[in-house]
Symmetry: C2
Subunit: 171 residues, 2 copies
């Protein structure tokens, strides 16, 4: 994965001082690298009869639908409050300072469907954990969670210990 | 396209009274329909050596990267102000009430690259027109703009008259 790391742009002090931001846009605008990461992220789930891939706005919308297409699955968006037009379920979860709420259409997933959760980045795991709660409220079966990049030093994987978690690039 | 229209959920009075909202989530969560629309949206551009596909957050991120993957192209995101971490160019354009600004990384597109602009919905065309201005500031060549749904009665196509515009489903 060292070759992919060289394509990711590192930006110090973004969005605030002391944070090193891994900018994945340089990877996505590289056509060979983009195809490669989509293929590798989906590879463990080929032949697993995934029904639905779930992604969170905004950056989670980049990889989740692409993997859904690759795996022959449907795509279900998770959005911030008041964005979804039909009846929705919601979860509220703790942030470092304050709380956040995410929503999913109540008919987005049917009981027993095999679900893959996809995001670009696994940081503290708070968002991913909230998404698993939405899926389980609708009695979907979570086959796994897949991330392009994992910031291992933030411990997000522990928050998702009861799931199969796969990340392509680790820092 | 009538079969696809039956899968799109129509929601009256969203986001405000008098507006009939076409909810595409019911189409995206239908695995056969999702694969079909991605295939049909990309079909005219297969073999056209598209270098980059551009999409606007948040809903434009759903189809643009998927088409990029399908066409073997890279993906470049257009975002709201202050979201992109590296040096960016911007355009400001008029809305019905007020103005809006969109940004793209200054290295997102190189001069002469063949670019496809993708979004889920062509309404008034204001956002799409702004995206073409960003691409042309960087001297990209716009091969076309493709939309899943076009609301023909809003006249967006006229605002894009100098481009090749393709939409799969028309209302």
């Amino acid at each position: 994965m060292e070759a992919l790391k060289k394509i990711i742009r590192e930006i110090p002090d973004f969005p605030k001082p002391g944070i090193l931001f891994y900018d994945l846009t340089t990877l996505m605008q590289n056509k060979a690298a983009f195809a490669q990461v989509v293929n590798r992220m989906s590879e463990p789930y080929v032949g697993q009869s995934i029904d639905m891939v779930v992604g969170v706005e905004a950056r989670g919308f980049i990889f989740a639908p692409t993997l859904a297409y690759k795996l022959g699955a449907g795509f279900v968006p998770v959005r911030k409050p008041k964005k979804l037009p039909a009846p929705a379920i919601s979860v509220t979860y703790d942030l470092e300072y304050g709380k956040d709420t995410l929503e999913m259409h109540a008919d987005g997933i049917s009981a027993g469907q095999k679900v893959l959760v996809v995001d670009d980045l696994l940081a503290t795991g708070g968002t991913a954990r909230a998404v698993t709660r939405l899926v389980e409220k609708l009695h979907g079966e979570i086959v796994g969670l897949v991330f392009l990049v994992e910031l291992g030093f933030l411990g997000g994987r522990e928050k998702l210990a009861s799931y199969d978690v796969f990340s392509l690039i680790k820092y």
